[in-house]
């Protein structure tokens, strides 16, 4: 792709301004996606109220985080994909430097160094990596014909590998998986050869044993073992999984009713307002509630995929696709780990779990997606 190619598509050079633009168009927002996201956020607050034992303060705080995050999303939506593309290399370098900084001057909690303290403001560079990595890989690949040849594939792997390894060293396995996934989605959507994918999977399977023995930390190994056999350590690591499965299972189809979940309200369920909040929802609203939530997530993912697929330029397509697929990975890993399908890796349920950092980075992703959508509509008109 050349620059002239891009210029032709910019609205002011196109010359045909629409006579009347709706509010959403002027704000560069996809009303459908916004509606679904607000519905999800509202559901999150509703469940959080119960999970926090009816604490209005907790709901208000999360509500403020959400407001900030939605504003950030709208701000991000104002940027054109081309602008984002231009910042990609510089952004990537800054991101890697920050991750290195975490290694040396980071702030620790629970045996892991994940935070960077900037004048009283605590910041998690791994969240930035989740966004910067797909942007960078999309930038790198979209400037050349697709599918990528082996040189570009190798180059992409280096770009993916660097931040992934740095995050994994913090150590934060959950986030490093999300970071790596975001990069791989770009590669996959760019048309990565199947031969490469299959041999990659084979290599991973071969590397599993040395990974287990030399790379994984004790607590990570324990989490995996706990997932396989939670009964082995009932009051220790297995406690969380046993209690969350009990919460989910005892909800049945109809659920115990809002604010009536015994597992969560009697403190059996750990982390009930953060990573394990889906168990509260499953206990109180039953399978019905779970299916409705999945439907909501499914609609958001479908809308996201549709937006990405409509993008005229490969950069927007690749980035948009990766953002929405990463969003799905959040949902899958979280719901999988709480129900005992996957090891507990500390991935929040997007827009429902309490917490500001991941909320902001998720909605920045949706902001980018909306920016892509807005550009697309302009092109059509």
């Amino acid at each position: 792709m050349s620059n002239t190619d891009f210029v032709r598509q910019l609205p002011n050079s196109h010359g045909t301004m629409p006579r009347e633009r709706s509010l959403s168009q002027r704000l560069r927002i996809d009303p459908v996606l916004l509606f679904l996201l607000l519905l999800l956020a509202g559901t999150g607050l509703f469940v959080l109220y119960s999970a926090s034992d009816g604490s209005q303060a907790a709901v208000m705080r999360q509500g403020r985080y959400m407001s900030v995050a939605f504003v950030v999303m709208i701000i991000v939506a104002q940027f054109h994909p081309e602008q984002i593309r231009r910042w990609a290399p510089a952004g990537f370098v800054i991101c890697v430097l920050m991750l290195l900084a975490v290694e040396f001057v980071g702030v620790g909690a629970k045996g892991a160094q994940r935070w960077l303290s900037l004048g009283g403001f605590r910041f998690q560079p791994s969240e930035l990596a989740k966004l910067m990595l797909p942007i960078t890989v999309a930038w790198y690949l979209s400037s050349h014909p697709l599918p990528p040849n082996w040189r570009f594939t190798a180059g992409s792997l280096v770009i993916i590998g660097l931040p992934t390894v740095l995050v994994a060293m913090q150590p934060d396995l959950g986030t490093s998986i999300l970071v790596a996934a975001a990069g791989f989605f770009v590669l996959f959507l760019a048309g990565l050869s199947w031969w490469f994918i299959l041999s990659g999977i084979g290599a991973l399977a071969l590397a599993a044993w040395p990974m287990w023995t030399f790379v994984l930390h004790d607590y990570q190994r324990r989490r995996i073992l706990t997932m396989l056999d939670p009964e082995g350590d009932k009051l220790g690591a297995g406690w969380n999984i046993i209690q969350s499965k009990t919460a989910i299972g005892s909800g049945g189809f109809e659920g115990k009713g809002w604010m009536l979940g015994t597992q969560s309200h009697l403190d059996f369920l750990p982390e009930s307002h953060t990573d394990f909040i889906i168990a509260v929802l499953a206990e109180e609203f039953g399978l019905r509630g779970v299916l409705l939530l999945l439907l909501l997530y499914g609609l958001i993912i479908l809308r996201g995929m549709w937006i990405a697929a409509q993008a005229k330029h490969s950069f927007g397509r690749l980035l948009g696709g990766s953002i929405i697929l990463t969003f799905f990975v959040y949902v899958f890993v979280n719901m999988g780990m709480v129900s005992g399908l996957l090891p507990v890796v500390g991935v929040p349920l997007p827009l429902v779990s309490q917490g500001g950092t991941s909320l902001v980075s998720l909605l920045i992703g949706f902001g980018i997606l909306m920016g892509i959508f807005a550009d697309e509509r302009l092109v059509h008109q």
């Binding site: 299972g249 049945g252 015994t262 490969s314």
Partner: protein
């Protein structure tokens, strides 16, 4: 840039992207399918399992331990009670780092090394999820400090419970025994349901013997609790059945008199009501404070007790086995009359020694030169003439001595309602054959005649035998328990000697009265100020055997080798209400050392006179 310019084919790229996106969509759908399957499985198929588990989580069946029965003496004085005590407990399963938690607690309240040491010992023998006590008897201040810090000490709780307390401490130590924390061994024996809420169990003595009676029956409550085990709401409650309150025959005033009369000397006093078999007093000295055993004694304190040369932990009343010595003489006298070997007027010559036909060995009388040329039964008891009894035993033979002794309970467990009783020893030919594999020698019979040789009795057995003498033939199992929840309990009658004539009984009783009232009575010192008739017998048991021709020299012997002082008595002689046996180790003189103790006990029981004036008089006598 290489010239081979690669051109982007937008159409092709878009087509390929869409293909890839469809793969992704399929992949995403498949994974959502997995999630849906997983949640459906948990919430529909396994619903019952998790529903039950959630209820079990939420609803706890909590055992309600029954209140342990109280123990009273015959006058309603409290001997064992339950007092509230606050205990700091740790539940290991809920604590991540034990060292950190212990360190944090040590910053809040004072912890001894022995607290931690014992806690770690208890930790090894615990039931899962059981709160293990770290410190007992917390003060109000400590409870408050712990409450303030409880939020950062998960698994650490202050537990209020009723703990056994013995207000009279060492006075009743050997009689009551004590409770202690249930051990792993006991855990295998007890009913796990009934003891599910109980931490203590009777370890020894009455507390152990009447454990079933005192413990009661466990109750339960269904309670909703949170993950920290804190109870939020009681859904259903079934009250426990408290243990029975028991009343003992023991009179704590008499017990106290007996205890102080012993004045810390090594020995035992047992007093029985011959009419009922009820134990009025039972003392073993020196004693110890049982309260320190309730919550586990520190190893230092325990070593001090168990290493004490006076053996305070040893219950001499039940387990001390002593030769009965001359106290057995009234019984052998009665045996002589019963078997017709002697009559009350039969007289033997006592030159100061006795020897068997065709044997040169001389069995010496305790009195050098003997008691005279004409000694009858009454005189033999009054003066405790050994030669008379050598002769009598020789004529009776071991078989008849054994059979008659057994009828007085000698050589058999008395069947008292407490633990760890020893049987003593009433030897027989059969016994000798079994134990030593040899024949019975006539010389051994001679020693039995004066209650020495192989013969061994416990102070309790002596009291029982005295009680048979007093009641003229009724052998009862001594009973500590008088009543349960106000309902009296009868002592079983083990046997009644009915084939001994009243005249023979009276002759023996008269001889025992002569011990007190006779001019040469060995305990005539006790008659001063007596307000009732007393029948008694003294005894002095050899600890080391003295060679036939050697003279016993108390001064030269180490204290531990000096003779034991024994004394048996019953009163009032014509209608006995109390029978007493006293043993004082290395006390040397039955009449003047053990006798006043027995009199003090009888004075206290019959007259309510707790001044122990007999002891003062005997002290004055020795001062003179």
């Amino acid at each position: 840039m290489p010239r081979r310019q690669q051109l982007k084919n937008t159409q092709r790229e878009r087509r390929q992207y869409k293909r890839r996106m469809i793969y992704c969509l399929l992949f995403v759908s498949a994974l959502i399918g997995v999630i849906v399957y997983r949640y459906s499985h948990l919430q529909l198929i396994d619903y019952d399992i998790y529903k039950t588990q959630s209820d079990r989580n939420r609803i706890q069946l909590l055992p309600l331990p029954p209140k342990r029965g109280l123990i009273f003496d015959r006058n309603g004085e409290l001997l064992a009670e339950n007092i509230p005590s606050y205990t700091l407990t740790l539940t290991r399963e809920r604590i991540k780092s034990l060292d950190d938690t212990l360190a944090a607690i040590a910053e809040i309240i004072a912890l001894d090394e022995s607290d931690v040491e014992q806690f770690e010992r208890r930790l090894r023998h615990r039931r899962p999820y059981q709160g293990i006590p770290l410190k007992f008897r917390l003060t109000e201040e400590e409870i408050a400090k712990l409450a303030v810090n409880s939020y950062r000490l998960p698994g650490v709780e202050v537990d209020a419970q009723l703990v056994r307390h013995y207000p009279k401490g060492e006075l009743f130590a050997h009689l009551l025994g004590y409770v202690g924390r249930i051990s792993e061994k006991e855990l295998e024996v007890i009913d796990p349901v009934n003891y599910s809420g109980t931490d203590f169990i009777g370890k020894i003595g009455i507390e152990k013997y009447y454990e079933d009676l005192l413990h009661g029956i466990v109750g339960y409550q269904n309670a909703e609790s949170n993950a920290h085990g804190r109870i939020l709401r009681v859904l259903e409650q079934h009250d426990p059945l408290p243990g029975g309150d028991i009343q003992l025959h023991v009179d704590s005033q008499v017990q106290e008199v007996a205890f102080s009369a012993m004045a810390g000397r090594r020995g035992a006093v047992v007093a029985i009501d011959p009419r009922s078999g009820g134990v009025i007093a039972m003392v073993s000295t020196p004693s110890y404070d049982t309260n320190q055993f309730v919550n586990g004694i520190s190893s230092k304190d325990y070593q001090a007790l168990s290493g004490d040369r006076n053996l305070p932990l040893f219950n001499r009343a039940l387990q001390g086995q002593y030769p009965p010595a001359s106290t057995v003489k009234p019984i052998w006298g009665l045996a002589g009359l019963y078997y017709g070997v002697v009559s009350p007027n039969t007289r033997f010559v006592d030159p100061g020694w006795f020897s068997l036909p065709n044997d040169e060995r001389r069995y010496r009388d305790w009195k050098v030169g003997g008691h005279g040329y004409s000694i009858n039964l009454e005189q033999a008891v009054e003066q405790s003439c050994d030669v008379y009894y050598y002769e009598l035993a020789y004529r009776l033979g071991i078989d008849r001595l054994h059979d008659f002794g057994v009828r007085f309970g000698l050589g058999n467990a008395t069947g008292i309602d407490t633990t760890n009783e020893r049987r003593g020893l009433m030897p027989s030919r059969e016994w000798k054959e079994n134990v030593y594999g040899g024949h019975w020698y006539p010389g051994e019979t001679i020693n039995i005649g004066i209650g020495q040789g192989f013969m061994l009795t416990t102070p309790l057995q002596l009291a029982v035998a005295t009680s048979v003498l007093a009641s003229q033939g009724e052998l009862r199992a001594p009973r500590l328990l008088a009543a349960v929840d106000g309902q009296p309990v009868q002592a079983p009658l083990l046997g009644k000697i009915e084939d001994v004539s009243q005249a023979d009984w009276n002759a023996v009783r008269a001889s025992m009265e002569a011990v007190i009232y006779g001019q040469r009575g060995t305990a005539r010192g006790l008659q001063r100020g007596l307000e009732y008739t007393l029948a008694a017998k003294t005894g002095t048991a050899q600890v080391v055997s003295i060679a036939a021709d050697e003279k016993y020299d108390a001064e030269a012997l180490a204290i531990a080798k000096r003779d034991h002082a024994l004394f048996i008595a019953f009163a009032p002689a014509e209608k006995p209400e109390i029978a007493v046996a006293v043993v004082i180790e290395n006390g040397e003189h039955g009449g003047s050392v053990a006798g006043p103790v027995a009199r003090a006990v009888i004075d206290a029981y019959l007259l309510g006179d707790t001044s122990a004036k007999a002891l003062k008089m005997s002290r004055e006598d020795s001062d003179e």
